[in-house]
């Protein structure tokens, strides 16, 4: 998705835009009421999940439905550590490490599978992890879940803290995504998505790259899970190992544009705003509405919003339409 691979990444416009967004986010955090604050935090969390998923599902093209597995692992790792008295920041780091290790293990097993089988494998992992959490009472408290120590401070202060924490995570994840997209590593992921044989042929260490992407993605998702767990102070298996999450995230990214840098953010924003502010009134129809959105996006705009609205600019920059003679000489 690069018009000119050698163009500078950090431009004045982009810096200004970033500062503007940061300003809005922070101002909102301090002025919104509790309900909107909560929605804003949920939006941030979804943005992190979408950005992280995009690395494996968008850049690399491996359709992972395992988001819920990593989310749950992070939530439980963070929750268990906090329960054991570990300070917040360390618990989160521990959760991120757990996510990374889990991804390393899972990746070594699943990344050799192609397309369909990889997708099925990742779904199976979510199911297995949920049942493990349900049944391993010694570690996870079983189906009744675990309580996590609440932070000191007024509900409002705590709410703002988690809001800012999530958005800080968004900033970090976004910066990481952009850095990857413009790096050799990101280039290799794009090659892997388009043609794995050719990727081998040009000297890309394909398996290693796939694992790296998987680990980075898993780590970030787990971290989001840990922050979520600390925030809600109570988690249970069917809440954090929820297969619906594994479907919503790819759908959001697809809405925005899988494989683009801004796509996950835009998709998450639109979807979550609609979900939290509009459909919350139609709770019975939530899944049907998600279904309709998915169908609509697939039929009407599978390439996502970013590409659709960039199409004009894109064709000017890259694809000059070749002559009818077929661009031959």
């Amino acid at each position: 998705m690069m018009a000119d691979p050698t163009a500078p990444i950090i431009t004045p416009t982009r810096v200004a835009a970033a500062l503007l967004v940061a300003g809005v986010v922070i101002a909102f955090g301090f002025s919104a009421n509790n309900y909107l604050l909560q929605a804003g935090t949920t939006l941030a969390m979804s943005a992190v999940l979408c950005l992280a998923w995009n690395i494996v599902g968008g850049f690399m093209g491996y359709p992972s439905f395992g988001t819920a597995a990593f989310f749950g692992v992070g939530a439980y790792a963070g929750g268990i550590l906090q329960d054991a008295g570990v300070p917040l920041a360390l618990a989160w780091i521990g959760a991120a490490a757990a996510g990374a290790m889990f991804a390393a293990f899972l990746g070594s097993v699943l990344l050799g599978l192609r397309g369909h089988y990889f997708a099925i494998g990742t779904i199976a992992v979510v199911e297995v992890m949920r049942e493990v959490a349900n049944n391993w009472e010694g570690l996870t408290g079983g189906a009744i879940g675990i309580n996590i120590p609440i932070l000191a401070g007024s509900p409002r202060e705590v709410g703002i803290f988690f809001y800012l924490a999530m958005w800080a995570l968004v900033a970090a994840t976004f910066a990481l995504t952009a850095a990857i997209a413009h790096s050799k590593f990101g280039f290799s992921l794009r090659c892997i998505r388009q043609n794995e044989s050719a990727a081998h042929m040009v000297g890309i260490a394909v398996f290693r790259a796939k694992c790296a992407a998987f680990i980075i993605s898993g780590l970030l998702i787990s971290l989001a899970g840990a922050v979520y767990a600390s925030m809600v102070a109570f988690i249970e298996p069917k809440d954090v190992f929820n297969i619906l999450l594994s479907i919503e995230v790819p759908a959001m990214v697809m809405l925005g544009g899988a494989g683009t840098i801004l796509g996950p953010l835009i998709g998450a924003t639109i979807y979550i705003l609609l979900r939290e502010l509009v459909w919350v009134n139609f709770i019975n129809f939530h899944s049907a509405i998600l279904g309709i959105i998915i169908i609509a996006v697939i039929y009407l705009m599978p390439e996502g919003l970013v590409r659709r609205f960039h199409a004009q600019a894109w064709s000017k920059l890259t694809k000059r339409s070749p002559s009818q003679s077929g661009a031959g000489s």
Binding site: N195, H200, M201, V202
Partner: protein
């Protein structure tokens, strides 16, 4: 004395009940252009797949510039200095022409930054004559140009050994002449080249050495005119009956052989 660029010792590949590559041993010195020919299904592409690490071997060794590479994964073999084109071109379809060649420059050869790879890519695109298509999507190119793109991508890897697998299939006469010129230019840069072709006429204009494969085994290896007179080679291409009836050397026989091979015929 420098090591030969490529040495194969008893290279074999078996799967199911089929022996696709049968105990091949050969040695190719630096800078040579060698033609690897044989009827369809003779095992030529399989051989390349074995050398470049895309297929596991059943037995045998592969040495590149004296170092054994038999057990290296494909990407390390690529980084050692071996490149190949694919019979059915394998571009990165969603990337631009420039990006495709950059892919070759980024990871193999000396690597480097994205900026450096971009400069190198432009250089090689100029070399093959595709520079004005730099910003086109790779999937928008004609077949002939896609083959050139594949070539540019391989060159960007700065290989010392290059396998060209049927790089001329589907080209018309003028495209063919351009392609042959390019190959000569590449050879003059010092790259050792192995050309796989089944249309003999093309190869004969380029190479001083011909290796003939049939049913996975090496039939003949040597100077083209000698190889073409070899009865075993004639049998392979034209059939036993023909060979028995025309055992005696004759201009007529050689002409017929040349013509058949030009038309790409031969026992399936």
């Amino acid at each position: 004395m420098t090591d030969p660029t490529l040495q194969l010792e008893g290279l074999t590949r078996r799967f199911g009940g089929v022996t696709a590559v049968d105990n091949i041993s050969l040695s190719i010195p630096k800078g040579d252009i060698v033609g690897l020919v044989g009827p369809n299904g003779a095992g030529k592409t399989t051989l390349v797949n074995l050398v470049t690490g895309f297929l596991p071997k059943s037995s045998g060794r592969v040495l590149f510039e004296g170092r054994e590479i038999s057990h290296l994964p494909p990407h390390l073999i690529a980084r050692s200095g071996i490149a190949r084109t694919f019979q059915i071109v394998q571009p990165f379809a969603e990337m631009t022409v420039l990006e495709n060649v950059m892919a070759g420059a980024l990871f193999a050869g000396q690597g480097g930054t994205i900026r450096q790879a971009s400069d190198k890519a432009r250089h090689y695109l100029e070399f093959v004559g595709l520079d004005r298509f730099s910003n086109y999507s790779a999937s928008d190119l004609s077949l002939a140009n896609r083959k050139r793109l594949e070539l540019a991508k391989s060159l960007a890897m700065e290989p010392r050994l290059l396998f060209l697998d049927e790089v001329n299939a589907g080209l018309n006469t003028s495209e063919l002449d351009n392609a042959l010129d390019l190959i000569r230019k590449i050879s003059s840069m010092g790259v050792t080249i192995v050309i796989i072709e089944h249309v003999l006429r093309i190869v004969l204009s380029l190479v001083k050495r011909l290796i003939v494969l049939h049913h996975g085994a090496m039939l003949s290896d040597g100077e083209p005119s000698a190889v073409l007179k070899d009865p075993a080679v004639v049998t392979a291409y034209l059939g036993t009956k023909f060979s028995k009836r025309h055992q005696a050397e004759s201009e007529h026989q050689r002409e017929k052989l040349q013509q058949s091979l030009e038309r790409g015929q031969g026992p399936a």
